[in-house]
């Protein structure tokens, strides 16, 4: 039975690795300027984690195979390296490995979160609420009107709680239920939640960020490929969570200008 156990572990380990090696289930193609670094970090981590996984399972299988159900007069043996060798090995190999991953990963993280958006990044505001996303563009004046939660009224389509009567900046603001952006243009996404926690996840964009009720959060990214992508909520927000989504349309600058004009009418 020990040999069967060892063989089972080996088979499970190999079968587990096959879909990874064949890329059966992977993230879709990256459409952002920052995503390549994340993908690279992912591949490197996969290589290191994969080797550790296979090595650990194979060694376990080998020892169980070799040292089970031995004859009563068989001699016990001690692993020649002893505990000291293993500890030093783990400290050096795993320590260097994880520190390298950590240090190299900083750059990928910094791209999205630590570097400030460029001055000419296009601001778009997104508001998350049970169970929809809404997007706001500042309009021709380039300024967002102020938000007044007490004025929010979905019946009259005042989704953001704008006050165009008293607030000049709000008058030309454009509100949409889908997000359109021009390709190769940096976007500065200003995020706030209307009610509870939500999240903004676009797999192709390599972007995921929670909305924090009571806190303004921002992100910046540049999409490099025209197409239509799903924006989904990843933070449990209530009974309709599974169905909370919107579409991101990445367009040519011309198409975007036309779209925005149409929304503004």
């Amino acid at each position: 039975m020990a040999k069967f156990f060892a063989a089972t572990i080996v088979v499970i380990a190999i079968l587990s690795a096959i879909p990874i090696l064949r890329h059966t289930w992977t993230a879709p193609e990256d459409i952002s300027t920052h995503g390549a670094l994340i993908d690279e970090q992912m591949s490197e981590t996969m290589a290191e984690a994969g080797i550790s996984f296979l090595a650990a399972q194979f060694i376990l299988a080998f020892f169980v195979w070799k040292f089970s159900n031995r004859a009563p007069d068989a001699k016990l043996k001690k692993f020649p390296g002893g505990a000291k060798g293993l500890v030093i090995g783990a400290l050096l190999v795993v320590g260097i490995e994880v520190m390298a991953l950590g240090i190299f990963g900083v750059k990928a993280w910094a791209n999205v979160y630590l570097d400030a958006p460029s001055a000419n990044a296009m601001p778009i505001q997104v508001q998350a609420g049970q169970f929809a996303f809404y997007f706001r563009y500042p309009g021709p004046d380039g300024k967002f009107g102020g938000l007044h939660p007490e004025l929010i009224n979905e019946g009259s389509q005042n989704i953001f709680g704008l006050d165009p009567e008293h607030d000049v900046d709000a008058r030309d603001d454009i509100v949409a239920a889908e997000m359109a952006i021009p390709v190769n243009k940096e976007i500065h996404l200003l995020m706030h939640a209307k009610d509870v926690g939500h999240s903004f996840f676009v797999r192709e964009l390599r972007v995921q960020q929670d909305f924090v009720p009571g806190l303004d959060v921002s992100l910046h990214f540049t999409a490099t490929k025209i197409g239509k992508y799903e924006i989904v909520c990843t933070q449990l927000c209530g009974l309709g969570h599974y169905n909370m989504k919107a579409y991101l349309e990445v367009m040519s600058q011309q198409d975007f200008d036309d779209w925005l004009k149409k929304q503004g009418q």
Binding site: T24, F67, S68, K78, K84, V106, R203, Q235
Partner: protein, 594 residues
């Protein structure tokens, strides 16, 4: 420590009434069994819930016969509503994390065996110990009551993120009374665990018998001691957090609700609270909780493997220090649950490095276990198979931690099935395997009867292969971006992944059914199992030197004296290849090289 020359005088007399003997018992062994029974009940409830969830995910418009009787509104005609899915999911997570993974390996086995392994008659505060169980049991009843009160249990997940947990019924079904019951249950649970931790710590430090130095404690005792130190601080943070949630519901406070939030076009009557405060408090408990669940199983598995490999560990000391390192680091890493939560992005980097560092003690522990098998004479039985399975699962679940420790990769994997696969393997299945191993190993001591080995091995094979079939594909789903906590997969990109979900569901149904073999084995063996001798595994620690099952005061009116390290296997002694901790016999090791 006690004086060896004085016969033991038990500080509470053996009970005579049924109630005092079996219900409100002060005996740590009875309390341990009560905890075990509670965990067993909770585990099967939790597993039943996972069956319902998995079935719904695979075939979400198909009726589950009879489900409408559990909740007419949650499952009209037997078809689960999205909100009822979330309610069952929340209950599954809460029951499993608290009432199974914390209760069985720590509170149940620890209660039964820690005092015996240190040579004590009982814990120092038996009334606190009794209270600890009954408070925990009450917590379980309060949680279960939410199935039947108002609009059902909370749907906010076992993490109960703010402000959904604090705004009341307006947040959705179960967010009013359901949340209050949840928070009350968990606050009570914390009280139970704090009382338990005090007893465990003082038992370990103060009640060791003569000769039982700290380094002579079995690894299982060490793991319970380390876990109780973690629990003492972790539950002490969760309890007030739960109380604050209750106050937000019943006292009009706003600890976790910010100003200006709008539901149904109405501004909520709250102001000034912090959403992220809950996450910090919860994960300050939540990450150490992972180690509360897994460290006892590490100790149990080490204890069992040593008895079955018939040789000493490469270094017990290194294993103890590594478990201690996990405990200390567990408080410095919790922010990795919050990389994309909106906290300062520099904090994410600050939490990332300790998280990566925690792989070092984890790796050392795995290496010590594995390389200790080198040159062993490993005995294969249900207990050792589950222990070996534990190592395999711990490795498989652990390596995915490499990914989740890095904020940049977490952007892609956060809140996906990758995370679900990771924690189910590393703290769910692995800890369950520790519980199973402990049960097969200690059942004879606890009941006086052996468990059936054939059934045990069948249980192992189905569970081992089944758990991999369920949880390995979770990682693949997560890599493809499959978001967790969805009751139905409506997004375009999720459609191609539904066949994978169906495969997982079939595996889960079969693996779940295999757990019924275990239940049958426990019940059958309890009454009809072959009688057990005092030391069926030829093991060395103190629990095997007393009668089976142990007498009321554990050692029959005497204090044992300890002469040896806990794992003197591979020696030449008068009884065989081992020497008991209580035997004064001087022995030589049997190794080729000395």
């Amino acid at each position: 420590m006690h004086d060896m020359s004085v016969p033991a005088a038990h500080h509470h007399a053996p009970p005579t009434s049924f109630i005092r003997k079996h219900v409100f018992s002060l005996d740590h062994k009875v309390i341990g069994k009560q905890y075990y029974g509670l965990a067993l009940l909770a585990a099967y409830v939790g597993m039943g819930l996972s069956w319902l969830m998995r079935f719904h995910l695979a075939w979400n418009s198909t009726a589950i016969p009879g489900l409408q009787f559990l909740s007419a509104s949650g499952a009209p005609g037997g078809v689960m509503t999205p909100e009822y899915y979330l309610q069952l999911m929340t209950m599954h997570g809460t029951i499993m994390v608290f009432f199974v993974l914390t209760t069985a390996p720590f509170a149940a086995f620890g209660n039964y065996f820690l005092p015996i392994q240190v040579g004590a008659e009982d814990m120092p505060f038996p009334r606190f110990n009794m209270m600890s169980f009954w408070v925990t049991f009450t917590a379980f009843l309060v949680l279960m009551s939410s199935f039947f009160v108002g609009d059902g249990p909370t749907l906010g997940g076992w993490t109960q993120y703010a402000p959904l947990n604090a705004i009341g019924a307006v947040g959705g079904p179960g967010q009013g009374t359901g949340v209050v019951l949840w928070a009350t249950s968990i606050a009570l649970f914390c009280v139970g665990q704090l009382l338990g931790a005090l007893n465990f710590i003082s038992t370990t430090l103060d009640l060791r018998v003569k000769g039982m130095s700290l380094m002579r404690l079995p690894l299982s005792a060490w793991s319970w001691f380390i876990t109780s130190c973690i629990g003492l601080t972790a539950f002490a943070v969760l309890m007030p957090a739960c109380i604050l949630v209750i106050l937000d519901h019943v006292a009009g406070t706003s600890f976790f609700v910010a100003s200006g939030l709008v539901m149904n076009d109405q501004v909520l009557p709250h102001s000034g609270g912090s959403t992220l405060l809950w996450q910090h408090l919860f994960w300050f408990f939540g990450h150490p909780e992972v180690y509360i669940a897994i460290v006892p199983s590490m100790g149990i598995v080490s204890h069992i493997l040593l008895a079955n490999q018939r040789k000493q560990m490469l270094s017990q000391r290194v294993l103890i220090y590594s478990m201690g390192a996990l405990a200390v680091l567990s408080y410095m890493v919790y922010g990795h649950h919050m990389f994309v939560s909106g906290m300062n992005p520099f904090s994410s980097l600050a939490f990332s490095f300790p998280t990566l560092v925690i792989t070092i003690p984890s790796t050392i522990i795995v290496l010590i276990w594995t390389f200790s098998l080198y040159g062993a004479k490993l005995r294969i039985n249900s207990a050792s198979l589950f222990s070996l399975g534990f190592i395999s699962m711990f490795v498989s679940g652990g390596v995915s931690g490499f990914f989740l420790a890095q904020p940049s990769i977490d952007i892609m994997l956060h809140a996906t099935y990758f995370v679900v696969g990771h924690f189910h393997l590393v703290m769910g299945v692995a800890a369950m395997f520790g519980i199973f191993a402990g049960t097969y190993f200690w059942f004879p001591k606890m009941t006086g009867r052996m468990m059936n080995e054939t059934l045990g091995k069948a249980h192992f094979w189905l569970s081992f292969v089944g758990a991999y079939c369920i949880f390995m594909p979770f990682h693949y789903l997560g890599m493809a971006g499959n978001v967790r906590r969805y009751s139905t997969f409506t997004d375009d990109f999720l459609q191609p992944l539904i066949p994978v979900h169906r495969f997982i569901t079939i595996a889960a149904l079969i693996t779940g059914a295999a757990q019924l073999i275990f239940l049958f084995n426990v019940i059958y063996s309890r009454f009809k199992g072959a009688p057990a001798v005092d030391n069926p595994w030829e093991a060395t620690s103190l629990e095997w030197s007393t009668a089976t099952p142990p007498p009321f005061d554990n050692f029959g009116g005497k204090h044992p004296i300890v002469y040896h390290d806990p794992y003197q296997y591979g020696v030449k002694s008068s009884v065989g290849d081992y020497v008991m901790q209580t035997s004064p016999e001087q022995v030589e090791t049997e190794f080729e090289e000395k």
